[in-house]
């Protein structure tokens, strides 16, 4: 196990813990940058989804994981960003300016939603954002001069300063660039006083207030920043999906985004990325399993002469082919994560790391959760 000898307070907030840490991140960046060389086009496209979802995850992580505010309406911000960007692109605004305008508009919407949210907490906030998202979705389908309603709105391929990003690999690097920028910006905010104020609000609003944190300002900031990132993600999302329709940005998408941050691990930026990998890659994995499980088991049945395996394979395949099973699998994973590993994939990753770095001396009790009986949120 390595110990970092700290000689100044500035060491607590530096970007990387030590040189070793920085080295690993650089290695990771290089690996991700080289991925399109070795991957087929299909997987490059799927990995681009991971990046876009990761930006959404970072956005929601700031709000839910760090500031402790619930939002059941983040798909609406994504939609506002996507539609605004597509609208400006269509009217001949340059790409960079269109993204900037989309971000500004979503930020403004975030502040508008955030203001009444200052007086609410917990479940009231959840329902207020849900109401907002429902109204926005209706706006998407009715405001036909801008959004084209249910007829849908095609989005052109991005062209930045005359350079076309139409090819999947080019778009991959574009999304990767924006993901790295948003991770870097967010990490910087989080290690600055702003981030510490957010965490303080999450842990105890009253304690934060007593320490001189202006709750109203920091909550609005969290909402605005989260919405801004969502607007950026929305612009990329619009290009990736290529055809916008109001029924993309439903409550189910909001829930999927929340699932992302929970499965990834609340309160860590790593979690946002892990969760994005999970959410973006689970549907293709299910699709692959759907065909490979019956095939594998039937070959096993052929080899061993036991028809039972073949029957099981057929059954699993048929089950996975039924409509709506994917949502159920997501639900099951969500339930299991909340019950068994509330810190999500990042928590598990931390435990594995600690296990190996303290190898023979690992104790389960290190991560034992405190037993909680009841915590009242009525008097807040």
């Amino acid at each position: 196990m390595r110990f970092v000898f700290k000689t100044s307070y500035a060491q607590d907030i530096q970007l990387f813990r030590d040189r070793m840490d920085a080295f690993w991140y650089v290695l990771l960046a290089a690996a991700v940058a080289l991925l399109p060389v070795v991957m087929s086009e299909y997987y490059v496209g799927e990995t681009t989804w991971v990046f876009i979802y990761a930006i959404c995850g970072v956005s929601l992580m700031v709000l839910v994981g760090y500031t402790g505010l619930i939002s059941l309406g983040h798909a609406a911000f994504l939609g506002i960003g996507a539609y605004a960007h597509a609208f400006f692109i269509k009217h001949g605004v340059p790409w960079v300016a269109a993204v900037a305008l989309a971000v500004v508009i979503t930020t403004a919407c975030g502040i508008i939603v955030g203001l009444p949210a200052l007086r609410m907490s917990g479940i009231y906030l959840a329902i207020a954002t849900l109401a907002f998202a429902t109204i926005i979705q209706e706006v998407f389908s009715r405001w036909e001069s801008v959004t084209h309603g249910f007829a849908g709105m095609p989005v052109e391929k991005p062209v930045i300063f005359g350079v076309s990003f139409a090819h999947d690999t080019a778009f991959y690097y574009l999304c990767l660039f924006f993901l790295v920028v948003s991770l870097w910006l967010t990490r910087n905010l989080l290690r600055a006083p702003t981030g510490r104020a957010w965490v303080a609000i999450r842990d105890s609003e009253i304690a934060a207030q007593s320490m001189g944190v202006n709750i109203a300002i920091y909550k609005s900031m969290a909402f605005a920043y989260s919405a801004a990132l969502m607007g950026l993600a929305g612009a990329l999302f619009a290009h990736k999906i290529a055809y916008l329709a109001p029924d993309i940005f439903t409550i189910l998408l909001s829930i999927q985004l929340l699932l992302l941050v929970i499965v990834g691990g609340l309160g860590s930026l790593h979690g946002a990325v892990f969760g994005a990998i999970f959410v973006a890659l689970l549907p293709p994995v299910i699709a692959i399993l759907r065909d490979s499980i019956p095939a594998t088991l039937s070959s096993v049945a052929g080899a061993t002469g036991l028809s039972l395996f073949g029957a099981i394979g057929e059954g699993v395949g048929a089950f996975l082919r039924k409509p709506g099973v994917e949502a159920g699998i997501f639900g099951l994973i969500l339930v299991l994560v909340i019950l068994l590993e509330p810190l999500g994939m990042y928590g598990r990753w931390m435990k594995i790391r600690v296990y190996f770095s303290t190898f023979p001396m690992y104790k389960r009790a290190t991560f034992k959760r405190q037993k909680t009986y009841m915590r009242s949120e009525r008097l807040r």
């Binding site: 429902t134 209706e138 009253i206 709506g324 949502a327 159920g328 639900g331 009986y373 915590r375």
Partner: protein, 284 residues
């Protein structure tokens, strides 16, 4: 027409009542309430149409089955998350709801079913047509609320439930089996959802997504009435039902679904604790 709004409002009120019962007692917010409603309607359909039982027998079977299911759900899953942040619980119940919907679509298929009911006629009173379907919803809500009121005020278990939801620890010291009470409250809440589902079945027909839309509106109703107030839930439900109906009839297209939420947002901005809610300030 007001009767239709009133009837739909009563359904929202009943589902909201289920939210509030659970919230008052355990501080958990059950987003799967709408899916319990859906499951209840499906069980009733199965009993009445597939097994050919009498409507009322099917009704009773569905209520009992879903109530037991609700109690088991509390005992096995939800008891473990008490004391965790509210957010985790919300997500947990959303996940459960998704699982129920998948279960229903695998078991019963994704077709739309019609539950035959004994309420099909109409009464004409003074030139106004009153359909039995809607009257049955209003009557059912009234009967159920009366029964619940009587239960909570006049029986030992009901009073114990009230005590538990006011102060868990004190109730435990008084010898009330708090865990059992929680499971019972879940059972009652699931039963109420089932009744709502069966009453609603002739109006919206039965499919796997019937619960979701109702639950979202009911949730708005519960917040409108002040989360944690039982009369508030019913009043909120009826208000939402009426707003929805009149907005659909008088305002331009598109307002039918959004008007309740617009009212809700205004309400939250003006009076965040809802109509009947009380707001406390934490003292340190």
């Amino acid at each position: 027409m007001t009767l239709n709004g009133l009837a739909v409002g009563c359904i929202y009120g009943l589902v909201a009542l289920g939210f509030v019962l659970i919230y008052k007692a355990t501080e958990l917010v059950n987003f799967a309430q709408g899916d319990l409603l859906m499951l209840g309607a499906f069980v009733a359909y199965m009993a009445v149409v597939w097994w050919g039982l009498d409507y009322w027998v099917g009704f009773a079977i569905a209520v009992v089955v879903i109530a037991v299911f609700g109690a088991l759900l509390d005992a096995t899953v939800l008891r473990r998350v008490i004391g965790q942040p509210q957010f985790a619980v919300v997500m947990l119940t959303i996940g459960l709801g998704a699982m129920f919907r998948t279960f229903a679509s695998v078991t019963w298929g994704s077709e739309i079913y019609t539950l035959p009911t004994p309420f099909s006629g109409v009464w004409t009173v003074g030139g106004v047509t009153l359909s039995h379907q809607y009257l049955s919803i209003v009557a059912g809500t009234l009967v159920l609320c009366g029964a619940l009121y009587g239960f909570f005020t006049h029986t030992r278990i009901g009073v114990a439930m009230q005590a538990t939801s006011q102060n868990q620890l004190a109730a435990y010291y008084m010898g009330i089996p708090v865990k059992l009470i929680f499971s019972l409250i879940w059972a009652i809440s699931a039963g109420v959802a089932t009744v709502a589902g069966i009453l609603l079945a002739p109006v919206t027909l039965i499919d796997i997504n019937m619960g979701l839309a109702v639950a979202l509106k009911a949730f708005a109703a519960a917040v409108l009435g002040g989360f944690g107030s039982i009369p508030g839930a019913l009043v909120g439900g009826i208000i939402i039902g009426l707003i929805e109906l009149y907005a659909g009839a008088t305002l331009p297209e598109g307002f039918k679904d959004t008007a309740p939420y617009i009212v809700l947002l205004l309400m939250l901005a003006v009076r965040p604790q809802g109509l009947f809610g009380t707001l406390g300030r934490k003292k340190v």
